[in-house]
């Protein structure tokens, strides 16, 4: 692997940048691996990276039915924050946030992590009470989060309309200054490059069609469109298609897959300094470094794998954007798309063991998995390597739906999906 540096850029300038090497290998699958990861999105690639880096397990394959980072990793709105209500969640997302710091240096790959601040708007008395409760809970859990008046919110984000005569006036905001955005593709590419350099095989266009098990129950490998590949340990990180993959091992999960839409505008000069989210009127928005406004809408109400949602959902979001930021009323939207998110009943992820020996599960990230990518990969690698959950992901077991120890972030998510 070429280590990227200023010197390397200068050297390649002499050949007009035509001779840069491939960032990761594209090998043929071996007959067997120590660990197979199903799904080459950010979480799957991060898992493979930390398996190799932290646990020294390099005989790993990451399989994907399409291309790496082509699912929800390439479709999300790239927001990073950690101000979740419950202590278990705050620990998990803060663990990720700690890893985001210095991730570019660690991967030697610019993931364009920008801590520009994430501001959540309150429009009702109930919002104010809920956000203040969040802020107090966060501060007790060691997570930064602060309350702003409407005027302070406007100072932090000048395009914001705090007129009292709009339908849902801004009554204040919760601000996490360390929150922000990162370049989603670069996260997948950086982890893929790092993992590949340590010996991990990333095998694209290789769909898993079955999970083979021994008569005693434990997994022995996966059937794929490129033949059987053996492994004693399998980690499933298939996001919206998790139910489909796990059904191959005879498991039924507490998941429902829904389309979640996002859209981007034409690129304009820097005009929007932070990330703004509004739960009540349902919109979130930031500006990418390329200049596009990146806007997130809600989920469709029904189960679907179509990677497309209803136009009335995005229209609803744009209504809110136009009211909150009147200067964007004449912006033209360039593209919109959907990704399939796997929602759990308590809106918290499932990371841990399954009833099938050797089969591990990382799913249920729902509408907000991107922010957790490094932390999710880190604790899932620990779970696979040691066969037991890391203390951070121990509460997020599949078993919690039997014991009733749910981590109810459903009412606590920043945007009510």
């Amino acid at each position: 692997m070429t280590r990227y540096s200023f010197l390397e850029v200068a050297k390649n300038a002499f050949s007009a940048h035509k001779n840069w090497g491939r960032q990761w290998r594209s090998p043929e699958p071996k007959p067997a691996y120590d660990v197979i990861i199903i799904g080459a999105g950010g979480h799957g690639l991060a898992t493979a990276y930390y398996l190799a880096k932290v646990h020294g397990i390099t005989n790993v394959a990451v399989l994907d039915k399409g291309w790496l980072g082509g699912g929800n990793t390439g479709r999300n709105t790239t927001i990073v924050r950690s101000n979740y209500l419950w202590e278990e969640s705050a620990r998990l997302y803060q663990h990720a946030l700690d890893l985001w710091d210095g991730l570019s240096q660690e991967l030697n790959y610019n993931v364009m992590y920008s801590q520009r601040g994430v501001m959540m708007l309150a429009h009702t008395v109930h919002d104010i009470q809920v956000f203040k409760r969040h802020i107090h809970a966060n501060r007790l859990a060691g997570v930064t989060n602060e309350w702003l008046s409407a005027e302070e919110a406007k100072e932090f984000c000048p395009p914001l309309n705090i007129d009292k005569n709009i339908r849902y006036p801004v009554m204040g905001a919760a601000l996490q200054r360390v929150g922000g955005t990162a370049r989603h593709d670069a996260v997948a590419w950086g982890y893929a490059r790092g993992a590949s350099a340590m010996g991990v095989d990333i095998i694209q266009n290789c769909a898993v069609t079955g999970i083979r098990r021994a008569p005693t129950g434990e997994v022995t490998g996966v059937e794929t469109t490129r033949g059987f590949i053996g492994a004693k340990k399998i980690g499933c990180v298939a996001a919206g298609n998790t139910s489909v993959v796990m059904a191959m091992a005879g498991l039924k999960l507490p998941l429902e897959s829904n389309p979640l839409q996002a859209l981007v505008s034409e690129p304009v000069k820097p005009a929007f300094p932070c990330v703004v989210m509004s739960n009540t009127i349902h919109a979130y928005i930031s500006q990418s470094d390329k200049g596009e406004l990146v806007i997130g809408a809600g989920t469709d109400q029904f189960v679907s794998y179509s990677q497309a949602g209803g136009l009335h959902i995005t229209t609803h979001t744009l209504d809110a954007i136009c009211e909150l930021f009147p200067m964007f009323r004449r912006m033209r939207m360039l593209r919109n798309w959907g990704g399939i998110v796997d929602n759990t009943p308590d809106r918290s992820p499932i990371i841990g063991l399954t009833p099938v020996p050797g089969l591990y599960l990382n799913c249920g990230w729902g509408t907000g998995g991107f922010k957790a990518t490094p932390g999710s990969g880190h604790v899932f690698a620990h779970t696979i390597a040691t066969g037991a959950p890391h203390p951070v992901n121990a509460p997020f077991s599949l078993d919690r739906f039997r014991t009733g120890r749910l981590i109810d972030e459903a009412a606590a998510a920043a945007v009510a999906h």
């Binding site: 139910s243 059904a247 999960l253 429902e256 109400q301 794998y305 136009l311 039997r402 009733g404």
Partner: protein, 105 residues
């Protein structure tokens, strides 16, 4: 937006008139006090979440207000049929085969 045919009203209406009710044909336990934790988890939370033909509940919230069931392909989002609550679950495998044969022709 989906167009949904309400089997009670007998008309096709836009999705915004309806609320989704999740997977259909999950019967409430006949004797709840006899269920163990695992059986409760299955009833309350576990869903087949099928990629393909899926039997699901809808409620015509801004119409007749009644619950009914539907079979929809979760890949194309096309409805195969809708039917009244209480009617038996259609044979999804047979419906899938029929739609494949139709596509083949």
């Amino acid at each position: 937006m989906l167009l949904i045919s309400c089997p009670y009203c007998g008309v096709e209406r836009p999705e915004t008139e309806f609320r989704y009710g999740g997977e259909a044909h999950i019967a409430r336990p006949a004797d709840p006090s006899q269920l163990n934790d695992e059986e409760w988890a299955q009833f309350l939370y576990m869903r087949t979440n099928t990629r393909g033909l899926y039997a699901e509940r809808w409620r015509h919230a801004h119409g007749c207000g009644r619950f009914f069931n539907a079979v929809r392909d979760t890949v194309s989002d096309k409805f195969v049929c809708t039917y009244k609550a209480g009617e038996p679950k259609p044979d999804l495998d047979a419906l899938a085969r029929a739609s494949q044969e139709k596509d083949a022709r």
